[in-house]
Amino acid sequence: MKKVQVSTADRTFAFELWFENDRYFVRGEGEEHVVDLTPLKNNRYSLIVDGRSYETGVEVASDGYIVFTGARSHRFIVEDYEIAQMKKQAGIDDWAREMLLTAPMPGLVLAVNCRPGDTVVKNQPLLVMEAMKMENDIKSPLTGIIRAVAVIPGQNVDKGQTLIEFEPWRNPEKPVPE
């Protein structure tokens, strides 16, 4: 039996897991499930959860897991529940590392529409980038406060290069303004 905390940038789940008779058992969020978890190729998994069949991709990232459900992806940090609680007490937030906006493609920064200290809301356009001969609004992935802007207009950036750093905000004492 193991208890873990699974978190995204804005939600946290707690699960207890155990393995018995070739089946996984999961308890958490008020429910209990029997799961047949079978790995396929290419980091894909077939899950039969209480008889319901799902196929999901799960890729291991440097700091957690990327789960491909349906046609979209979700990033999760999975950690031991006790450790997660201790971290919380100590004010350590792993998602703080995640609080970066990186370039989704290589291209040219045409405009920057925000400054350090600004409070921005999710999907607010923060920069304009030119790529594939089109102007693309780069929107905020979250609601939060900008700590630093790492690029200037006219700068060419690579895919994955940091554009904006946010203040960590997932802090129980300081709720997210949403």
């Binding site: 193991k2 873990v4 699974v6 995204t8 939600r11 789940f13 699960f15 897991l17 393995f19 996984y24 999961v26 958490g28 969020e29 499930h33 799961v35 978890l37 790995p39 190729k41 290419n42 980091n43 894909r44 998994y45 899950l47 959860v49 799902y54 196929e55 999901t56 991709g57 799960v58 890729e59 957690g64 897991y65 789960v67 491909f68 459900t69 349906g70 046609a71 979209r72 992806s73 979700h74 999760f76 999975v78 989704p104 493609m105 290589p106 999710k122 999907n123 356009p125 790529a131 594939m132 089109m134 693309n136 609004d137 780069i138 929107k139 992935p141 895919k159």
Partner: protein, 506 residues
């Protein structure tokens, strides 16, 4: 007089190059692919019979290099060039260059491309041929005073459009006289930088139009037929993303009327080849000529599924100088077809291109499903070109069955590694307005005030995803534990590394 086409160079990439290579194979014609450096491993290179490097990385360095393409065609002994869509497809200089070099350009003549490619001239041709056009000035408008008189005459809101335009560039909506001057100058300057042509004109702005287009075929003997309509109202960034045929608002009488109009225009322009006449349709089902696309459209498969005709084969026949083999009355229609374009774009982030590696990729199949794709599993979607990965087309006996099958196919579609418009397609298939056929070119803004939020909500259970992450992590821990236990029970690990080190030193 007909000619033989033995070998065709496909001056394109991605799904349309694959589509044309398949068409060549169906016709017993040798297909020739060309490719840029990043496209060496691309699927269109692998399915073609022959393949030659153009070099270069960007479109300008490769697929737009008229000289290299013509040279390759001559060297490999191609009889014809198929330009696909995009790149050189509507470039009349390239069509002329083909002709000068004794190569058949699969499309209309350079003169017709030039005539219909200019929006102001095309509008004049349409008016002369008796087609309804959006009220407005067909002339090039340079002075604000002229624009002001024109706008007053047709009534606000008005639309300023680039004569050489496309893709929403050089386009401005003006709601009152105050905004006119600024809009005129920004539109002209945008048009200048985008197309090298500052000419703009003014039109009545139709507030919630549908985009409905008619597929036409014309041969070299003046015969022109139409293959009915496609409804293409669902657009993002003025580009289509979901198309269907028939359109919910087009009945037989309206189809006949729009079809006849499109045929008239094609005849007036001396159109030879496959082409599309685009119309706006207002809320009273009045239709207005918009523009002509002098090439195969991205969305041509929906017409193929409904009529049973193969438009690429028809292009080949016309290019060989054959007469149209079908008359207007032979054009049958059966059932309903829908296309979802699968773009490497993150719909939740405003349809931002999102290229990368297809770490897992599995296309749907089964009854009523067709996929025209430019990629297979393990491929990379390069950043340099259009982010269209594939087109998913379904056919059903009626619209309801087509929607059900599209839902099923989108659900089966596996793309891992990048975000795509599959999630957006799913959202639309479940949207009430779409299901009941209430569409306009503002569909996306009207229906999804917060698209990211709608996508998240529609994406099922985040809890299940979190649980899956927890399970995969737990499984990994159990396996690591089992491995380390086995290692411990089998042998002392210090001994192993000591022995290995010893072996190395010997």
């Amino acid at each position: 007089m007909t000619t033989t086409i033995r070998k065709i160079l496909i001056a394109n990439r991605g799904e349309i190059a694959v589509r044309i290579a398949r068409g060549c194979r169906d016709a017993g014609i040798i297909s020739v692919a060309v490719y840029s450096d990043p496209d060496r491993m691309a699927y269109h290179v692998r399915v073609a019979d022959e393949a030659y490097a153009l070099g270069g990385t960007t479109s300008a360095e490769s697929y737009l290099r008229q000289d290299k393409i013509i040279e390759t065609a001559r060297k490999c002994g191609a009889d014809a060039i198929h330009p696909g869509y995009g790149f050189l497809a509507e470039n009349h200089d390239f069509a002329a260059l083909c002709r000068e070099n004794g190569l058949i350009f699969i499309g209309p003549s350079p003169e017709v491309i030039a005539l219909l490619g200019d929006k102001v001239q095309a509008r004049r041709v349409a008016e002369k041929a008796g087609l309804p056009v959006v009220p407005g000035s067909v002339q090039n408008i340079e002075q604000v005073d002229v624009a002001r008189i024109e706008a007053y005459r047709i009534g606000y809101p008005v639309l300023i459009k680039a004569a050489a335009g496309g893709g929403g560039k050089g386009m401005r909506i003006v709601n009152d006289p105050d905004g006119l001057g600024a809009a005129l100058s920004t539109a002209a300057s945008e048009a200048g930088s985008a197309f090298g042509d500052r000419r703009v004109y003014i039109e009545k702005y139709i507030s919630r139009p549908r985009h409905v287009e008619i597929q036409i075929l014309g041969d070299a003997y003046g015969n022109v037929i139409h293959l009915g309509e496609r409804e293409c109202s669902i657009q993002r960034r003025h580009q289509k993303v979901i198309e269907e045929s028939p359109s919910m608002i087009v009945d037989d009488a309206m189809r006949a009327k729009m079809g006849a109009a499109a045929v008239e225009l094609a005849k007036a322009a001396g159109y030879v080849g496959a082409g599309t006449v685009e119309f706006l349709v207002d809320e009273n089902k009045h239709f207005y000529f918009l523009e002509v696309n002098t090439r195969l459209q991205v969305e041509h498969p929906v017409t193929e599924m409904v009529t049973g005709l193969d438009l690429v084969q028809e292009q080949f026949k016309i290019a060989r100088g054959e007469k149209l083999s079908i008359r207007q009355e032979d054009v049958g229609r059966r059932g309903h077809a829908i296309e979802c374009r699968i773009y490497a774009e993150d719909a939740a982030a405003g349809f931002i291109p999102c290229t990368g590696h297809l770490s897992a990729y599995q296309e749907p199949s089964g009854p009523g499903v067709r996929v025209d794709s430019g990629f297979i599993a393990g491929d990379d979607v390069p950043v340099y070109y259009d982010p269209l990965i594939a087109k998913l087309i379904v056919w059903g006996a009626d619209r309801n069955q087509a929607i059900q099958r599209m839902r099923r196919a989108l659900n089966e579609y596996v793309v891992q590694g990048i975000e795509t418009t599959i999630s957006f397609g799913r959202l639309v298939m479940d949207n009430e307005s779409f299901i009941s056929g209430r569409l306009s070119t503002h569909f996306i803004e009207d229906e999804f005030a917060d698209l990211a939020e709608s996508l998240t909500r529609s994406d099922g259970d985040i809890r299940l995803a979190a649980m899956t992450a927890a399970l995969v992590d737990y499984r990994l821990q159990l396996r690591l534990l089992a491995v380390s236990r086995r290692a411990k029970s089998e042998e002392n690990p210090w001994k192993i590394s000591g022995r290995q080190a010893g072996l190395r030193k010997r």
